[in-house]
Symmetry: C2
Subunit: 218 residues, 2 copies
């Protein structure tokens, strides 16, 4: 019974995701779903990378959270269009959440980044209609997380290893983490980053712009 | 429809939780549910505190994870009885998961600590039959988490602010975090800890032993 209903929820979500993807494709918008645990540094890396897009491509952000508009306020300070999606306690965004926001987006954007709810588990099960997934893993979370939360990384085109400025102060075996990530998804690109030091931020901007331009041109 | 089924799931869970609590009470076992996000340092703080109980009270641990037995192996190295509960992708433990493990526990324990799945959201909705909740928040996750994930802290008798050895290297406003925690739950005790430096570990051991003895004597 529970499984049947879960399937129905997922089917409804997949239908909405397909509609979202069509909406993006018709408007040449590349959509990225950014996933990661709470405090994995998703908003901070967006704050670092969004200013680089200025003059190159027009980006907008959807912020998924259970409560508060704190993350949306951080993005708005960069003069990037942002909409806060509150799940009212829900542990992940659904394609329907995203769908409701689409008409509120400004016209003419090239890139939509959806920052999902900070949760390493549930969001991975819900296609939002994105073209690409980026997953975040902070070095302070520990190098065992790729093995313990494989779903978070399975469909990621890119994994950001964030907060690398903390590497001298935390036990984190980078080689082990990289091996475990590639075991979950051998096609994944891995990028070591730090929003504080700027490490990897330019490479991330380049990676996103390259994908946005190639997908947007379809 | 979805809501009705969720209610049925929660009702089934609550029934099992009540049975678990009865099981604990009959055997004078104090049960603690330890909650927190992935990488919030739950296992590390258990590794620090469990050896202190030796000779004082007999503890056992249930480890909840989606995949791997890594955390259970870490606890087993301390010669503490431990059972790994795998949720097979599920984002939280249920009282039924716990129930299935009860008969596998050694006889004569005084304290059962259940380390929940690393997830700041879903586990908070599921009563496991515990007497006390302890929530963990690492300073590397950020001081905005009590506001963004209030459910994680609402029913916590104690919140551990973990990884305090990282305070010099991360932006974390301790006064703000404490204020926000107490706004969510004014009755909560807050303890600053570091498994690496040992900060707060003795106080945590004392807090747990005091509660285990007073509850176990009921």
């Amino acid at each position: 019974m529970e499984i049947r209903v879960l399937r129905r929820v997922l089917q409804k979500n997949d239908d909405a995701a397909t509609e979202n993807r069509l909406w993006f494709d018709e408007r040449h918008v590349t959509c990225i779903n950014l996933l990661g645990g709470a405090g994995s540094g998703k908003t901070a890396i967006l704050e670092a990378v969004l200013p680089i897009f200025r003059g190159e491509l027009r980006a907008a952000v959807l912020e998924g959270d259970l409560a508060t508009t704190r993350d949306a306020e951080r993005i708005a300070r960069l003069d990037v269009p942002v909409i806060q999606l509150l799940t009212d306690g829900g542990c992940h965004l659904t394609a329907t959440h995203v769908q409701r926001a689409l008409d509120e987006l400004p016209a003419g954007i090239d890139l939509l980044i959806i920052e999902n709810v900070g949760n390493p588990i549930c969001p991975a099960n819900f296609d939002l209609g994105e073209h690409l997934r980026i997953s975040a893993l902070s070095v302070s979370e520990g190098d065992d997380k790729p093995s313990k939360y494989p779903l978070l990384f399975r469909d990621a085109a890119l994994t950001l290893i964030t907060k690398c400025d903390l590497l001298p102060f935390v036990p984190f075996d980078m080689a082990q983490a990289r091996r475990d990530l590639l075991r979950v998804n051998p096609a994944m690109r891995i990028l070591e980053t730090s929003a504080r030091s700027g490490k990897g931020v330019d490479e991330l901007a380049t990676w996103i712009m390259k994908h946005a331009l190639s997908l947007g041109a379809l």
